[in-house]
Symmetry: C2
């Protein structure tokens, strides 16, 4: 059910929803955003969106908003960016020009609720050619701390590129393939900048932070240091360079809805690095994505 | 690895962690709480905790804190309850006397991270006889809106009382059995209060809010209204009375760590009820749990 729009004689890449029931609904309430089709003019509010940046923490999304506003020359002195989802504490949302920022909390279920409502929001707002970028920190495997990892494929705990969704009690397997061209473009941005190491690799997505990622410091642990190292070595051999908790459903849902999806994670070593070092690390994916967005917007202005 | 404490000649119910690696760690950083064993005196801060109330939203946890403070006669005029996890935006934490309140976000992975760190916090603080109660709203099946459901068993999408945990890429199945005696006690509190309907039933826990709970209004939907009704009827026949997204791992982890666990959810119909009605509904689990905590604390004073 895409809204195919003709512009300059070419058909834009439209946002797909795949739900015949939406047509017959009098209104669509995006409950966890505290937005809706009869209470808000979604095309007016969001129709110009071309990039959506998502990340776990609301605080980090706000500071990323301020950074991008400055980078794009859209910041005003003492500007405060209001939270568009102010009426709820589930997610936070900010907007600067054509760039939307949304927090998604931690884990697959939390980001999936946000993505369902984001996809419907972009659809109702009749957005086209939207690129969604997820940024954040992650545990790295075999990389120097501070390396930025651009995800080639999101894989599960046995290193397969798939996302398992349960629908009406039945298992449905979805592909987690990402846009390879985008990943190469982002890698190229990393080379242009030459400020820090950027690599392409597979990202393992888990449902659990402690036992699911072979950590030894959870409330429960039934394996040895050696078991952990063996598992991480297997992951490395399968091309995994970092581990996090949202990439699989992000890749699967963006693919289903015709959104260009990009994952750009930082390998941080939170326990041994100083606060200054960590702060510098956390800027890196932002710098890279900021450079990428600027480049794309400048290119589209020239066309 | 329980800390067995002798008090008044009887051995208290201690908090178990089950991780031999913790013993050899110089410090334990509870990263997502922004607390740690070398930066905070956890026994002094939390040693008296007997009840932990958890729920998804930080705002609702704060208002529940204020309500319980008043109920227990511990509130002071114009008292503001500081967020103990103020240095992070992952979770919010408040404390009033022996009652701790923690938010956990949405979904199994998000509450699991919180529970790993909560269990270690209670362990490091040498707490004993702790009851953990999860409150919140949920979708109901075959119940009047506003009914409070006390969970007998947490079941998965095919109605089995189990939680599947992946450890080093391998499936481990954990029991989600809850404390039946506690559920009966809470049901009794509902009868004492006689203010609203309280029932005991099974709670279905899903990884997804839209397709996972047979909703027709997500970005994707591949089934009909009839398929949905059939699935919910099957769930009802299996004893399911409400659906939410955190109960299975809550039940499994509390069981593994010797915590008394209680789930108390409200069946709300968020789209058709007015705000006043909804606000009244959302108070109900709080009123019930407040009554229960008061009763237990009074009983322990008499002994």
């Amino acid at each position: 059910m895409p809204i195919g729009e003709e512009k300059n004689g070419t058909c834009d890449r439209s946002i797909y929803v795949n739900n015949p029931h939406l047509e017959s609904m009098k209104e669509d309430i995006l409950y966890h955003f505290n937005l809706g089709t009869s209470t808000h003019d979604l095309p007016a509010m969001f129709g110009d969106v071309k990039f959506v940046c998502v990340g776990g923490s609301p605080w980090r999304m706000k500071s990323f908003t301020e950074y991008i506003a400055k980078e794009l020359g859209l910041s005003e002195p003492n500007a405060d960016y209001p939270n568009i989802c102010a009426g709820t504490d589930r997610y936070a949302m900010y907007k600067v020009g054509p760039v939307l920022f949304v927090s998604h909390g931690m884990g697959i279920p939390s980001i999936a609720i946000m993505l369902h409502e984001l996809i419907k929001l972009l659809y109702h707002a009749r957005c086209t050619d939207v690129t969604v970028v997820r940024i954040g920190t992650s545990g790295g495997i075999g990389l120097k701390p501070g390396t930025v990892v651009v995800t080639k494929q999101s894989v599960d705990s046995v290193f397969q590129p798939r996302f398992e969704q349960i629908i009406l009690g039945k298992l449905v397997v979805r592909s987690t393939e990402l846009d390879g061209e985008l990943a190469e473009e982002l890698l190229q941005c990393g080379k242009d900048l030459a400020e820090f190491e950027t690599v392409i690799g597979n990202t393992m997505c888990t449902l659990d932070f402690y036992e699911g990622q072979a950590r030894l410091d959870g409330a429960f642990c039934s394996y040895s240091e050696e078991d952990k190292q063996n598992y991480l070595a297997e992951a490395y051999a399968a091309g995994v360079r970092n581990i996090e908790m949202e990439s699989s459903v992000f890749a699967a849902m963006c693919k289903l809805s015709n959104l260009r999806a990009l994952l750009d994670r930082l390998k941080g070593d939170q326990l041994t690095s100083s606060h200054d070092v960590l702060n510098n690390y956390q800027q890196r994916p932002q710098v890279l994505v900021g450079h990428y967005i600027k480049k794309k917007l400048n290119a589209s202005k020239k066309n």
